[in-house]
Symmetry: C2
Subunit: 352 residues, 2 copies
Amino acid sequence: MSNDDASDLGVALPAAAAALSAEERAGLVNELKNKLQNLAGQHADVLETLSPNVRKRVEVLREIQSEHDELEKKFFEERAALEAKYQKLYEPLYTKRYEIVNGIVKVEGETNEAVMDEEGDKCVEEKGVPDFWQTAMKMNEILAEEISERDEGALKYLKDIKWSRNDDPKGFKLEFFFDSNPYFKNTVLTKTYHMVDDENEPILEKAIGTKIEWYPGKCLTQKVLKKKPKKGSKNAKPITKTENCESFFNFFNPPQIPEDDDIDDELAEELQDRMEHDYNIGSAIRDKLIPHAVSWFTGEAVQGNEYDGLESDYDSDDQDGDEDEDGDEEDEREERKGKKKRKCKCRPKSAC
Amino acid sequence: MSNDDASDLGVALPAAAAALSAEERAGLVNELKNKLQNLAGQHADVLETLSPNVRKRVEVLREIQSEHDELEKKFFEERAALEAKYQKLYEPLYTKRYEIVNGIVKVEGETNEAVMDEEGDKCVEEKGVPDFWQTAMKMNEILAEEISERDEGALKYLKDIKWSRNDDPKGFKLEFFFDSNPYFKNTVLTKTYHMVDDENEPILEKAIGTKIEWYPGKCLTQKVLKKKPKKGSKNAKPITKTENCESFFNFFNPPQIPEDDDIDDELAEELQDRMEHDYNIGSAIRDKLIPHAVSWFTGEAVQGNEYDGLESDYDSDDQDGDEDEDGDEEDEREERKGKKKRKCKCRPKSAC
């Protein structure tokens, strides 16, 4: 293996590397390059240096490994079928949720009571559960980070989020359904992740998002900065400059691996981080938000949540950080604190 | 929620945080503390500010969510049963592997041919596949990093590695079976991971390893440094100092969360990194090494491997980094390079 072959190793670092500083990582990349080259060399050696008897044993071991791998393949198939079966069972529940959230069906006991609108100047009948998806998303740590204040106006129009598995190429698709709105023309925004299999481990190949057709002046992923022209300049028009800005809608314009993948280590690292971040958002939407949207909306799903939702025993009036608490409360708090544990970043393999 | 309640947030950072520098992370920890406090406050608000009609709708949505969660629980149970079924099917194959690797059974076509021993001074009959597990482990990036040169003598005696799931407390156990050896008294070293469920996501609670009973002077996780005493000092004996050192066997002495979990952010970060690293090693052994040990031994399982194992079309003599290659070879190499893709750190959820 020549040095050249390992030049894109920067995008294939082991999990542990993510916890290191940029400098440590640059060192690690080089170390790994050397190591992989050694491993490849070693591999050839291992088999060549075996005595005839040991080589025969290894041949039989390889047959046993093949038998195992055949079984394992069936296991993956059965597991995928099981997952598909349950996705079908969830479907009607998601439909009911959609209908209630968007006011398509009424629930028992609803009155025709109207409420004051936000400006407090007229009475309106509230439809469904206003801001359902936006509220649910903001309750999730990972997703809350992505939503800017400017996004809130557009996310009001989010009616539903669905996901489905793709088989060829492997991966999954997220669909965001929007009501017609003053921000963009699209009614569905999609995000697709293409994965490839490597030793039964899914590897992200690329992510693709819908191109958003913003209405003029409504783009949320860019800011227009206006500068007054210098006094006495010939052109009296203000100078406008467009700048990219933070927005959840950047999710639909994911980082891309450049055609020429001979990028340097630092850029490769940065790209890996950005792709990983993007993948984490997609996974959070698929694995957490969509299946448990109501629990996110009510806050019951919040990690390390001290409130047990509507059935909570803790009076919310008592949660204002009162320093004058008695001993019992102190104990209770300590006990609750103990529940916050280190999160191991496990994601379902089958779901990639 | 008082400030105090969020003080151990440092050990529950989101996945994306792992990619940041220490300084950025310290900032993020504070930001998250504030955010979580806001979220908790928001949660109470969300439900309190709902109009009676919307609240009724949310109550119905919560019932739908419960129905979903019941189904999901069944899904997790069925998936666990499926996994257990296949583990049973793999078992006889692992036993056969064990018997061949350790020379308990002979394979067809074996001769009584003896080979020169390492020193080349006498003929010995090779038993099984010498250094099978050690060689396999060294082929895996994550595990290779853990093995020091000093470890090699002891790892020669590793006969088998098994894993099993624990139900109460949830988690899994790795067992390392050793032949009697000059390094330590134990014949089985175990490593157990205790997990807790949080919103169906496994969280590592703690890891426990066997205390290794080293024979005198044989401990591989410590080095004894001898210093000559200063000339003219009263005590003529050399001063000995014991120092911890790198060794795979540190895996059996995993990082622990201190009883007093009010540690500062920086220490919490470091602890999180070390626990995560330890968990990654355990997962690699369970998910990669044990099921595919033969493919690791032969090198076929090496990530981004350019050799297709024994059936490889590439002549290993041609892999010496020859710069004078012709165009076709260049193309072939480019094609192979393209296969190295970013690894997304997906681990099977069911396997935690």
